[in-house]
Amino acid sequence: MSNSEANILIVEDDAVTSKVLSSALGLVGDCKVTDNGEEALEIAFSAIEKNKPFDLICLDINLPGLSGRDVLKTLRAFESKKGFSLKESSLVIMITANTDKESILGSFGEGCEAYIEKPIDIEKLRDVLRKNDLL
C-alpha cells in the first residue's frame, strides 16, 4: 500500500490547519477537503459504495453541525455493516485541539486509530503514517 496514490479525506473547518494538512499529506496521496461533518460522511459513504474507501481520514472534532466524533461513529457503524476488515476500513486520525480525557479516550472508544493534538506536530503525523504503512 505504501507510496502510490492513497485516498485521503481531510475534515477540518479551520482553513489554516486544513492547508497545512493537505500540503503535508499531498505527498502521500490524493487529498479531498471538506469543512463539515455532513459532507464528510456523504463523501466517505459514496467512496465506500464505489469500492474506493478512503485510506486515511483526518477528522477535526469541533466542527459546525455534526462533530468529528459523530462522523467517526457513523462511519464505523457503516463499515461494520459492510463487514469491512481492518484493511478495508479507513485509518482515522483525530486532529483536534481537545486535550481532555473524555475526548481522547472517547474517540479511541469510537474507533479512531490515532489522536493528534493541535498544533500539529508533523513528526507525530509521520509516525502514524509510517506505523500504518502509508509512508
Partner: protein, 757 residues
Amino acid sequence: MDQELLQEFIIEAVENLDSLDQELLELENNPQSQELVNSIFRRIHTIKGTCGFLELTKLEALTHTGETLLDSLRSGRIPMTEAIITALLEMLDTVRDMLEFIEANACEREEQNESLLADLKRLNEEVEETPVEKEQESAETIEEEVMSEEDELAALFKEAQEEYLKGAEGDTNEKVVENEPVKEVKKVEKNDSVKETKESGNKLAESSLRVDVELVDRLMNLVGELVLTRNQILQFASTSTDSAFSNTTQQLNLITSELQEGVMRTRMQPIGNVWNKFPRIVRDVSKACNKEVQVIMEGEDTELDKTIIAAIKDPLTHIIRNSIDHGIEAPDVREARGKDRQGTILLSAHHEGGSVIIEINDDGGGINTARVRDKAIEKGLYSEDVIEGMSDREIQNLIFHAGFSTAEKLSNISGRGVGMDVVRSNLESIGGNIELQSTEGIGTTLKIKIPLTLAIIPALIVTQADQRFAIPQVDLVELFRLEGNELVTRMEDIHGSVFIRLRGDLLPVVYLGHELNLYSKVSEDVSEDVADFENKNITVVVIKIENKQYGLVIDEVHETQEIVVKPLGRRLKDINLFGGATIMGDGQIALILDTMAIARQANILEDKKSISDDGNLDDEIEGEKTSLVVADVGEKRRIAVELDQVNRLEEFPIESVEYGSGSKVIKYRGGLLKLIDLSEELRLDSKPEDAENPDELKVIVLNESSGLYGLVVDRVVDIVDESVTLQSWENCSGVRGSAVVQGKVTDFIDLNHFLQM
C-alpha cells in the same frame, strides 16, 4: 505522560478486559457469532489505539497482534478454534498484568511476552493453508440460503443506505454477495441484533455516568451525618409543642430517609459484577482438573453495596474453586453414577429482608461425612467421643474448621488447608454468615447471608453502667430476663464458668461489665455473690456467633435504631472489642460492640465450652486442673497465682511495713520479707470500697528459689481448682496472661517480672 489520562485509560481498559473475558467465553460456546467477534475486535482495537497514543509500545504491539488475529476471524479467513480462544484469553491476562504494572510503576515493563506474541501470530498464519477449503465448503452449504435471503439482504442494505447516506446510489449489494457469500449470510443473521445491542448500548451510555467512588463515599458520609442530625432534631421535636415545627420535622424526616436510600442506591452494584469473573475461573479450573463444568447464574442483577461486593469476591471465588476441585466428580465417575458428564454449578442470589442470600449449589459428590469425621479425629480437632455425638450436619460443618482439608492430594487449586475457615471469617467480618448443606452423592449447597450495606445498620441499644452500646441486629437472637429465684434455678456454675439453662441448652454467659471493666451495682452483685439472689434480676441478650450462642449480661435494654456506623479513630482501633461507633439522637456517642471479639476475650469460643444438648460438660472439659489462689487488687482487677508457688497467706498491720533498700519490707519469721504491692505495680490506686479491714495488709507469701516474697493484694477471694486457657497479651508487663476464673477475667501474675525490678 499525562497521569490522569493514563489512570482513566487503565480503568476503562480493565472494564473492557472484564467484558472481553466474558465475551470470549461466550464465543467459545457460540463460535458462529459475528456479533461477538465484532464486539471483541472493537474493544481490542480501542485498547490498541489508546496504547499507541499513550506510547505504551509493548502493550500496543501485543494488542495489535491480537487485533490482527481477530480481524482474520472477523472476516472469516480463519475459523474459530479452542486454541485461539485460549490464546486470546492468555492475551487478556497478559494485558491485565501489563496494565497492573503500568498502574504501579507508571511505565511499561521491559520484557515482552514473546511466546504469546509468537503464538498469536502463528495462529493467524497457520490456518492460512486451509481457509479456501473451508470457505468453499461453507459456500456450498449456504448457497441456497444466500439466494433465498437475497431479498432480505437488499432490504437491509437499503435501510442502511437510507440511514447513513444521502443520495448515494449503490448497486454493490449483489456484487458483495457474489464476492463473499459466506460472510454476507452471516451478516444477515447478525444485522438486527447488532443494531439492537448498539442502540441499547448507546442508551445506557447516555443515561449513566462514571462517578468517583471517593465522591460517593463522601456523599454517604454526609448523608450519615444528616441522618444523625435528623435523629437529634426528631428527639428535640418530640418534646416541642409547636405544631408547625413538628410538621417541618416530619418533612425533614421523610426527605432524609429518601435521600439516604437514594445515596445508598448509588453505591449498589449488581452481584453480576463479581460473578461475571466466574465463567472464566470455572473454565480454567475445570480444565486443570480435567472436569466438565458449567455455571448457571440466577439473580445476577441483585444489588449489593460496593464495599460488600468487593469483600465477597475472594470468598466466593474460593468456594467455586472448591466446588470444582472437591465437589464435582470426574466425568467418568459422574457417568458411572448416572449423572450428566458435565457438572453444574448454580449460583443464585436474592434479597431477603435486609440481607442478600447467595447460594452456591453443585451437583457433585457431596461431602463424605465419614471422611470428614475420620479426618477431624486424625487431625485431633475433636475427640472420638465428641464426634460420635455430632449430627451429620455438624460434622459437615467441620470443614469450616481452621486447618481442615480432606483433599487427599494437595492441588494448587484448592486444598491448601486455609480454605473454608478463611472463607467463613471473611464473610463474618462483613456481618455475613455461611451455612452448608450437603447430601452425599447428590451435591452441596452453601448458603451465604450478607447484609445489603455496612454503612447504616439496625442495632439494639443497651446500657452498661450508664454507658450506651449498640449491638448489631444481625447478631441478636433473643432477649430475656432472669429474676429472683430463677437466678438460682437456671444459672449453673460449671468449672468456674457461668451458664444459663435456656430451653434445655446451656448458654455460656458473658458479663459485659467484666469484659469492659464497667461495673454497675446490678451485675456486680450477681457475680460477686452467687448465693444472694433475692430481689435481683439480670437482662440477657442472646447473641449468635458462628454456630454458637452466648448470653451477654447487660444492665438495660433500650430501643432498636438505625445507626450510622462510624469507624473508630486510629487510637481506638487496637481495642478490638468494638466494631465502630455511632452518634445517638442526643448527640452522644455509643460504641458498637463486636460480639465476636467479646466472646473471644471471654474465652467462650473454646470448643470445650460449646453448648451440648444434654448439658453435661464434664466429658468435654479435660485439660489439667491447676489450683489457684485468686485475689482482688484495686476495684476491678482480679489476679491469680498458682497454689504451688504460695507459701502462706498472711495479714500484717500496716504499721509493720518498713523500708529497706528502697522497697517495702516486713520482718517475717526472723528474716525480711520483700513486699510487692500489686496495686502500686499495676498502677491501680482505688481500693475496693468494701475492704473489710483497711488497716490490715493482705499478703500472699510466695516461695521462690531466691527466697520469700510477699504479694500485697486487697482481698484474697478463694482457692480454686481450674483448668485454664491463658490468653496472653502483648505489652502487659507483670501479667502472664488472662483467663476466665469463676466467670471473671483474671490476670495471671508473672512473678519474675516483679523480681527483676
